[in-house]
Symmetry: C2
Subunit: 443 residues, 2 copies
């Protein structure tokens, strides 16, 4: 992996530079990532990006090319350059497991390290968590209204070309079944899908020629795109060319409830009773919900999922919440909670622990943020039947927990999300704007 | 640069595979990227991403690692793998110069190549143009309401970590003066900025200690962040520590018009009459416009610029608009315009030329899209005083025009944007929703 070290705001390095001069760079600190609110009146959010982030933190290394550029541009001084050259994150990171539901104030990620080691990761942590969580939070709502029908992410063309890979992964964690993005298939082991676009039909001398070419290449089980010219003619031709064994037709335009019903009738009347209908026309959670009574067999979603369906950034911030004095290790003293008081941006100092209270019906009722302030180690015991610990140890002495990385970590996150969704109150799945489905309680 | 070849939807490769079997893969084709509408009732858009795209097309190569993955996952057959192994884009690309204004239907990019060579670039072209253009189109509006005050992009944490680099570049093209993103500084030669965040103040035993540390490190010309606790106290401390030579104070919260006025009075009364005021609190084009009468010296913009201020994807599509028969070169015959007829997604076939009609006052009046259909070469003569050719030759026989690449290309795009803005009717700069400021006329 290429170095991720310059995917960073300049002031992170400038602060390290100044803190090294003032002798505060080595103070032990706690940083916390959290969101003050859920985007867009949503009822819950889904954490994503964590596994990807852990890999990027491993790649956060200043090699000669980074150091030379920083030196040439006078960003930091020589002692800081020397320190950066040796930079390896060596601290602790706890966080909500990837795929976990979250609410306003949930302490999603806690970094314990020296000031310099922790502050320098701020931009990278927020870029990854804000984007991926935005996508997963939108995607989870689409999955819940798809009512078990397969749903594929195909929005690569509507977001930055590298964000597209992250979006495919985040949507998969949120319960999407596949992606069109090949790099996401390679990088994260996700299932990929896709057959043909309108260009393929337009290339050929007739729609029938195009269908014949596609069926010759992939067999009758393929998905034919039937709306290039006229849907009724397209469906007729599709069954004529592929026979009643035609795998699926794809519809990418029109008033979908009407069109889908007509296409189903037409397919059935032509004997293609097992041919599936895939729809892909500017779908979002609302249009998918509107198709719940229609004979749709699969959804493909583009723009809305990769842009967070109206909330393209999850609004997470990363704040210093506590530090110790100037000693190290046992001499460092107690944690000193710190918080800013800026209007509408106040933060809550101190180390947090997070528990979800689950009632006797296995339903989540409260997000409990336990503000301990001083150095109680995580986790501690609480009755397991009624409180679920939300923080997991992601990085131990600079070493990430392998379970959360790569393909396996992505699958684990997807499974965790599925389990967590079972726990949420049913009101979580209402699409309309409203309050978080469970309150965040500080104690 | 790493290979960009798998930053692609699976169906692009599947179509190549089927077309190779059906003998249509080598048909000469024209593909066109355009937007059916401007996002969000805007009056104009700004094209960005072109220079970045040309470099990514150069990196669109299938090496062993890509080919192995495609083979192992059965995406395409062996003849297609052999073709991909040799893939180098060898065709022609014309397009709007980066930084150009655009309107609905403007033919932003035209790719002339075989079907296979051109279709396979679709996803990459759209990812880059949709994201970068979204950012530049939002950024240009912020620049115009900043009324010449410096404006910096600092939204890296609110978009994917690689999109952040692209966003910095797009905002710079749109007239932003600097970015916080270091990789954008290294990769594209953009000016970078940034000093300290709230964490730096919270790290120290007092706000005064933090200010002393920062001034000791960077001198009194630095920018002190004064809103961690109480702005009035913060400003007083800042001047006490740095003296009246303090470079700037930064305000990141509060009701800005009120706060800015009070801080200016306070600075002046303390004798810090040259100390500048930078504001950075969740700004967008509307809040910036609301500060036009306030004594703000510089703006820093985050979320809204990197997410396109409500329109995170520019809505561009890439359509096959014409092809020739099966012959090659002189034998290939005439261009055959093709277009799909899907409801609300109809496209206009044929090769386009684009001209902007400029009246005697040097004001743009019409976007003229000249639908020629058959193979007239670009450009042709028209009276230069009244019509400006909008398409430039970006790639010639597979070779990109060097002028549009790298740092120089980015600066050229920024200059072009500045010149183009002079040409737009004054109504272009109204923030309210409305119609495109000039009509698109087909002829």
């Amino acid at each position: 992996m290429n170095s991720s070290a310059l995917l960073t705001d300049r002031y992170e390095l400038t602060m390290v530079d100044a803190a090294m001069q003032s002798g505060t760079a080595d103070r032990l600190c706690l940083f916390e990532a959290f969101a003050r609110r859920l985007p867009h009146g949503r009822r819950y959010g889904i954490v994503a990006g964590t596994g990807r982030l852990l890999e990027l933190i491993q790649a956060f290394r200043f090699e000669d090319s980074e150091l030379d550029w920083l030196r040439d541009h006078g960003v930091v001084r020589q002692p800081t350059l020397d320190w950066l050259a040796d930079y390896r994150f060596s601290g602790e990171i706890w966080g909500y497991q990837e795929g976990e539901a979250y609410f306003p104030g949930s302490p999603l990620l806690t970094v314990e390290s020296t000031f310099a080691e922790g502050v320098i990761l701020e931009t990278l942590i927020l870029s990854v968590l804000n984007y991926d969580t935005s996508v997963a939070s939108a995607a989870a709502r689409m999955v819940s209204v798809a009512l078990g029908r397969p749903i594929a992410e195909m929005g690569s063309r509507r977001t930055g070309e590298q964000s597209a890979v992250a979006a495919a992964r985040a949507a998969y964690i949120a319960g999407f079944d596949a992606t069109s993005n090949l790099e996401a298939g390679r990088r994260w082991g996700l299932p990929t899908m896709g057959t043909a676009a309108h260009a393929f039909t337009l290339l050929h001398d007739s729609e029938e020629d195009a269908f014949r070419a596609q069926v010759a290449a992939f067999g009758p089980g393929t998905t034919l795109l039937v709306d290039t010219y006229d849907i009724k003619t397209g469906v007729e031709l599709a069954v004529k060319v592929a026979g009643t064994e035609l795998g699926a037709v794809r519809i990418d335009s029109g008033d979908l409830p009407t069109v889908v019903a007509a296409v189903r009738d037409q397919l059935d009347s032509l004997g293609a009773v097992n041919t599936r209908i895939t729809v892909t026309s500017d779908l979002d959670e609302h249009t998918i919900a509107g198709l719940s009574g229609s004979p749709v067999d699969a959804y493909g979603v583009g723009t809305s999922v990769v842009t967070g369906s109206g909330a393209p950034a999850a609004g997470m911030v990363y704040k210093l919440v506590a530090h110790k004095g100037d000693g190290r290790g046992a001499d460092a003293g107690d944690w000193i909670p710190v918080a800013k008081a800026s209007v509408a941006k106040a933060s809550l100092g101190g180390r947090k622990r997070a528990l979800r209270r689950i009632d006797g019906t296995r339903t989540a009722r409260e997000e409990i943020v336990d503000v301990q302030g001083t150095g109680i180690d995580l986790p501690v015991d609480l009755p397991s039947e009624s409180h679920r610990e939300l923080l997991v140890h992601l990085v131990n002495g600079g070493v990430p927990d392998e379970r959360y990385l790569g393909h396996a970590g992505t699958v684990l996150a997807r499974e965790h999300r599925a389990a967590v969704m079972q726990e949420l109150p049913i009101e979580a799945f209402r699409l309309g704007q409203g309050e978080p489905v469970i309150p965040t309680v500080y104690r």
